[in-house]
Amino acid sequence: MSILHTVNKSPFEKSSLNSCLGYAREGSSVLLYEDGVYGAIKGTAIADKISGLSGVKIYALGPDLKARGVSPEKIVDGIEVVDYAAFVSLAAENDKVQAWV
């Protein structure tokens, strides 16, 4: 069974992303949205942690990146930028959604 994990808080504000990554098993997906998109940026203290996950696909919500002035080239390689329609698809394609608030 695959889980879509969602993280909506900044990794520098809360430990939610950290906790999430401890639970994201092979074949699951993680969507960063709202302030969670700050976890997708290159060169931060957690960038290595987020890019070093094998078997877990990471996504970042485009509208939230744009709102925060984060342009596409600033995103960690391998993180896919998606829109709300794709958020819905991810929720439908995975067996369930776990919100790490």
């Binding site: 069974m1 369930k96 776990q98 608030v101």
Partner: protein
């Protein structure tokens, strides 16, 4: 009440009293108990603080809802998974937690522990088996 039986997991990651999430999550569990689903609770991160024994709210003038965890057994909510790593990170052991038990009707009403200590990876595997995950 329902013919469909799903595996419900209620995920608790927050400490009690500082915010209302712990208490209002418990209210969902209690109401949910009437629906005869396969229910379990997970206590992760600061959620483990909800189960610490000796809570005394007299001086903050807030309702002490910790006794409610003791009642869960009577509602057939008998699987309380506590993440080992979260306890350790907070310098806690099982001894610091309330001794929560239930009476197993399939085993001559023997008193058993509701709290099940799990490692993060064990809990992740259990989470994977659930149908619905509630977050508060």
């Amino acid at each position: 009440m329902s013919e469909i039986i799903k595996k419900f997991m209620y995920i608790n990651r927050r400490a009690p009293y500082g915010t209302i999430y712990a208490w209002e999550a418990l209210e969902v569990v209690l109401i949910g108990a009437a629906f005869d689903q396969d229910v379990s609770l997970a206590f992760i991160d600061d959620g483990v603080y909800q189960l610490v024994k000796g809570q005394d709210t007299s001086e903050v003038d807030m309702k002490n809802f910790s006794p409610t965890y003791q009642a869960l057994g009577d509602y057939d909510v008998t699987k309380l998974y506590v993440e080992k790593e979260s306890l350790e990170e907070r310098g806690l052991t099982l001894d610091d937690l309330m001794p929560l038990t239930y009476e197993d009707e399939d085993d001559d009403w023997a008193e058993k522990d509701s709290i099940k200590l799990m490692s993060r990876s064990e809990l992740a595997a259990i989470m994977d088996e659930q149908d619905i995950l509630f977050s508060f």
